[in-house]
Symmetry: C2
Subunit: 94 residues, 2 copies
């Protein structure tokens, strides 16, 4: 099982623009047959710091997610409003 933490850093003036994009991304990703969990959170200290916690069966499933129509359409729209590069941590269970 593969656990992923993906962190986005969005400009303060774009928070209302990205909100529906994130909503659509979460809804469509959860419909992917290989998606085990895909939850989005917001840092209590920084409303522009968005944190995905994801569970996939393996790396191939994550790669398939990154190749979906919704990912390739929505992520660049979100990233257009970033104030810093996204970060990713791929993890195994302890």
């Amino acid at each position: 099982m593969l656990k992923v933490i993906a962190q986005d850093f969005i400009k303060p003036e774009a928070l209302e623009i990205v909100r529906p994009l994130y909503q659509e991304l979460v809804a469509l990703t959860r419909q992917e047959p290989l998606c085990i969990s895909y939850d989005l959170h917001v840092d209590q200290k920084d409303p522009g710091h968005f944190v995905f916690i994801e569970t996939w069966p393996d790396r191939a499933a994550l790669d398939a997610h990154c190749a979906t129509e919704h990912f390739r359409r929505l992520v660049p729209q979100i990233n257009a409003h970033q104030r810093a590069e996204c970060t990713f941590i791929l993890m195994d269970d302890f």
Copy 2:
């Protein structure tokens, strides 16, 4: 609901020392009545980068966790082997 990501950075030579400490911390924390989830992961790119993903009902429950005997006994033993300061992100659901 409160989601927490806590990240530890352990010196390479101490990985086998901290392993049983983490095992005990996870086992005892999961027995806390207010613990919803408490999962430990390891960065695929860095075997000394340990990542807790935690779910608590609220901040008071997290504070109670940090005041337990097992937390106050085990965390300083783990931190004695850190190569960088721990980091914490407290998050709300999107």
